[in-house]
């Protein structure tokens, strides 16, 4: 620990040893809710007990189950205390710097959660007659228009539940478009830097994946696309800026190469934060784009979701968008599900409305000018970090960075300290690590996306921590390789988890 104590700007654990001693059951942490259960307790009484015993008799025994043995039984305060204590074990954007590359962990305005909870939204049943849900339909219609303007596309569907489902929807739209023109195209081109969902969605959409190699400088050359594109190519999925944080300089030539062969350009908009007011996918030649509202448009990530993955398309593709569509009638907004060419639906109802409300409120708050400022400041922050880190953690590519930068390092070679070790050590500084080992083309990659809502001071403390870790890796590698040292847990054994999967709690045999 000695070298930790010397670390500047680091809170030193005053008595780590004692802390562990005091914990009576080191192997237990916070007990599982099931372990806190005691027969006969209730934490809620949502149904009057009076009379509520008769349902089983009505249905008859043969339809009914035995009682829910092993299900939790706790009082309301016990349940609340349990989950509040669990919450304290999390890092989160609201509390820590969380520069997770490709995830756009920007501030999630708290007012948006309140607005999404307004009874008029939260208590609205999805099958409410349209004339009694005009406010919700207006939000969706306005949101479609706003996203079309932001992306430069002609039509938007808010239907998909997340980015990956947006990809699937977009690819199925491409497929339907070609089929409608009498063509059955089998191939989708995907860069080697692409996010895993791109090939996975392509497979699900029935396409074979052809991998396009990005060049040494980290971007996609039109020549490579020309080499791969054929009359059997349905589309190419391009993430722009790509996962190296580089704006694809030949994007328009790529679009042209694709279009020349009747193929479509699918633009993965997960990195849209860099493009706000900087460049519109529609103007790059994109035919389809998906957006991640939980990234660019600030809806909370919720520990993994929910999000929303709207897609925008150019006019010729509009007929194929998922159902239902929102249409304006004389008497107001309505849903239209009589769309013969539509790819259909990929989920129930109308999209992740609660997320759409939050993102809509965010767009209203920033406005056109604020969105443009957000994009530029995100780019400023990424370039600042990149510059300040360059002596120890050089950029993986010499190309200019947009909203994120991908760095590498020589510690593996010099000190047998891995990127994972660095990430874990960073936790001791109260900072969530960047995305690591992605994109796959960069060995030991550190993918850093600060976002525009972080201050220069935070970036400086991050840089200071990374510098400390770099030097520490050389002076005291064991400290880094055995990190973290100051959290409730030391390093978690993920190999063991996969080797002997324990995927649910089971009562101890008496």
């Amino acid at each position: 620990m000695s070298s930790v104590e010397k670390a500047p700007r680091i809170e030193v654990d005053p008595a780590p040893a004692i802390e562990k001693d005091v914990d009576e059951s080191p192997q237990m942490g916070v007990p599982l809710i099931f372990e806190l259960s005691s027969s006969g307790r209730r934490g809620a009484d949502v149904a009057r007990v009076a009379g509520a015993k008769r349902g089983a008799e009505i249905l008859g025994a043969e339809l009914c189950r035995e009682d829910l043995a092993g299900f939790p039984e706790l009082s309301e305060p016990q349940v609340l205390r349990h989950f509040l204590r669990l919450s304290q074990l999390n890092f989160a954007q609201a509390l820590q710097f969380y520069p997770l590359g490709s995830c756009t962990m920007k501030y999630n305005p708290v007012v948006n959660d309140e607005l999404a909870s307004l009874p008029g939204f939260a208590a609205l049943h999805p099958l409410t007659p349209a004339h009694l849900a005009q406010g919700a339909l207006a939000v969706m219609a306005d949101m479609e228009a706003a996203l079309a303007e932001i992306t430069g596309m002609d039509a938007v569907s808010l239907h998909p539940a997340a980015g990956a489902q947006g990809e699937l929807a977009g690819l199925l739209v491409a497929r339907a478009y070609h089929l409608k023109r009498g063509e059955r195209r089998h191939k989708v081109i995907i860069p080697d830097t692409a996010h895993g969902t791109n090939p996975a969605s392509s497979a699900l959409a029935g396409f074979e994946v052809a991998v396009a190699r990005s060049n040494k400088r980290g971007f996609m050359e039109a020549a490579e696309v020309r080499r791969l594109v054929t009359d059997d190519t349905a589309a190419m999925m391009v993430t722009n800026p790509n996962t190296l944080g580089i704006f694809e300089p030949e994007i328009r030539a790529i679009a042209h190469a694709l279009h020349a062969r009747g193929a479509l350009l699918y633009l993965d908009g997960a990195n849209m934060n860099a493009l706000l007011g900087v460049a519109k996918p529609g103007h790059m030649g994109a035919d389809i784009v998906q957006l991640n509202l939980h990234k660019t448009f600030s809806t909370p990530h919720g520990g993994g979701g929910p999000g929303a993955g709207p897609i925008g398309v150019k006019r010729p593709l509009e007929p194929f968008l998922p159902m239902p569509r929102i249409v304006k009638h004389a008497d107001g907004w309505a849903f239209d599900d009589q769309r013969p060419d539509s790819i259909g639906r990929l989920r129930s109802f109308h999209g992740n409305f609660g997320m759409i409300v939050r993102a809509f409120a965010y767009i209203l708050a920033l406005g056109g000018d604020g969105l443009a400022r957000a994009g530029r400041l995100a780019i400023l922050n990424a370039n600042y970090v990149r510059k300040r880190m360059e002596s120890r953690f050089p950029a993986a590519s010499a190309e200019p960075s947009m909203h994120e930068c991908v760095l590498s390092h020589d510690l593996e070679r010099r000190a047998d300290v891995s990127t994972l070790d660095i990430a874990k050590r960073l936790l001791d500084f109260g900072i969530h690590p960047p995305t690591i080992y992605f994109p796959l083309v960069v060995p030991g990659a550190l993918m850093i996306e600060p976002t525009e809502t972080e201050s220069r001071e935070i970036l400086d403390s991050f840089v200071a921590a990374m510098e400390r870790i770099y030097d520490e890796a050389l002076s005291d590698p064991a400290m880094v390789k055995s990190a973290p040292h100051t959290l409730a847990l030391s390093r978690v054994d993920e190999v063991e988890a996969a080797r002997h999967p324990i995927l649910r709690w089971t009562p101890k045999p008496p």
Binding site: A92, P126, L380, L489
Partner: protein, 449 residues
């Protein structure tokens, strides 16, 4: 702008470090033509008070959200959500964290998911449950894809026609691009409203990949899942059950005990607001034997290097970020915070409360059915039902409008999805409906029956 900390001097000094004169220098490499046309023609930013006022006005225009005796269901259900659920999901530590890739800094999320996986296993009587899917419909589609991986040789996907229309539509879309699959629809018995067993027997050939049945089904009818699974198994195929009203699993025999191989469903009833239909919560559980074919994230128990119990994402080799085009699914972001809400909700109700709630729903729905019958409005089907049932009226559209004028949202007409059920209205009754409201429902419909 209040979300961004940068002052002019911050920007200037940062640019100096970078060695640029202007932020525009940082994007100079973006083709000028693109930048020239990139301005966003939206209204300028608004202060919080204005945004709040605007959204409040829009929310108020959703007149259907309050003030009606509401009997809408059909896949999304009105249930009371204890405040404690919101108190947990509102915690910034849960709401603003990402997928728990760094286990040491995510034990709150990973342990809660582990608890969620356990709770769903208990409800479905299955061995494994994933960390969540988007919703019930997409979970059903993923289940069919999972079945395909388990039984690669087989061709025929048999969907009960009594399965929710949007579940069937979603499955069709997910399968639409995949070669060599055929979807057949299993008719329902017009008397009972349950899937025709005879039809399953016909479909039960060596080609059959799986059957998908609602439990309860899209008419609220409790399918004979045991018999359906048995018939399906006789053909060596997989039985998939889909449950939209999760509360039913608190009382009905669990799919696992009835032989289902994969049990999916919608968890919205477990503490999620209606939110005009999303975000909901897809759940999927299955047999341990099929674990490796399961889509979605899984949390497993392990320990840290000091032997403390710990939880982390595991078996990721099934997933897109490792397997890419060979992954079990393309899902990445899932509905984690909704799974947390369900975990808190189910923990609050607990062993006693969940069953009481289920029984109460049965009781009220049957009360409503008999009151309606007494007023001459009869059930469309005579199969057993949970908290939802179809009735027959001469003109559903007219009846629903008339009821609405009486302040009653009486239900959903089945006709658009089932032309053969031109007279049916689907009525959902939950603990949110007072007997007074049930009376108003009867009055409203009796008038126009």
């Amino acid at each position: 702008m209040r979300f961004m900390p940068h002052t002019d001097s911050d920007i200037a000094s940062m640019l100096e470090v970078i060695g640029a004169h202007d932020i525009e220098d940082l994007i100079a490499h973006v083709p000028a033509a693109l930048r020239a046309t990139a301005a966003i023609a939206l209204a300028p930013g608004r202060i919080e008070a204005e945004v709040a006022a605007e959204l409040s006005t829009l929310a108020a225009q959703n007149r259907g959200a309050a003030g009606f005796a509401n009997f809408l269901g059909a896949g999304y259900y009105r249930h009371f959500v204890p405040a404690a659920v919101r108190a947990v999901t509102a915690r910034a530590e849960f709401a603003t964290s990402y997928t728990p890739y760094q286990a040491e800094a995510s034990q709150g999320t990973t342990q809660a998911i582990f608890e969620f996986q356990t709770l769903v296993c208990q409800l479905t009587a299955m061995e494994v449950t994933n960390a969540s899917m988007y919703d019930g419909a997409s979970a059903a589609a993923e289940a069919v894809l999972m079945a395909r991986r388990i039984l690669p040789g087989r061709r025929v996907v048999a969907l009960s026609r009594a399965l929710w229309p949007d579940y069937r539509a979603t499955i069709r879309t997910y399968l639409s691009a995949l070669a060599g699959l055929e979807i057949v629809e299993l008719p329902f018995d017009p008397a009972t409203g349950a899937t025709r067993l005879s039809a399953i027997e016909q479909a039960a050939t060596a080609d059959l990949l799986c059957t998908v049945t609602g439990y309860p089904n899209g008419f609220g009818v409790i399918e004979p899942l045991g018999a359906i699974a048995a018939t399906t198994h006789r053909a060596g195929a997989l039985a998939i059950s889909a449950t939209a009203e999760g509360i039913a699993l608190g009382l009905l025999k669990p799919p696992g005990d009835l032989g289902a191989d994969i049990a999916v469903g919608e968890g919205q009833s477990f503490g999620l607001p209606l939110q005009f239909g999303g975000p909901g919560l897809g759940f999927m559980s299955a047999r341990l034997a099929h674990l490796r074919q399961m889509p979605g994230r899984l949390v497993g128990q392990t320990s840290d290097h000091d032997g403390r119990r710990a939880f982390c994402l595991t078996l990721a080799t099934r997933e897109q970020h490792i397997r890419r085009e060979r992954a079990t699914s393309n899902i990445c972001t899932n509905h984690s915070l909704c799974a947390l809400a369900a975990t808190v909700y189910l923990s609050l109700l607990g062993r006693l409360g969940l069953r009481e709630l289920a029984e109460r729903n049965v009781e009220l729905a049957h009360q409503a059915a008999s009151i309606l019958a007494a007023r001459g409005i009869h059930r469309q089907f005579d199969g057993s039902f949970f908290n939802e049932f179809a009735v027959s009226v001469s003109n559903p559209a007219a009846a629903l409008e008339a009821a609405e004028r009486q302040g009653v949202l009486a239900g959903v007409a089945l006709r658009p999805d089932y032309p053969e059920l031109a007279h049916a209205i689907l009525i959902s009754v939950t603990e949110m409906n007072s007997s007074g409201e049930i009376g108003r429902l009867a009055d409203a419909l009796a008038e126009v029956r």
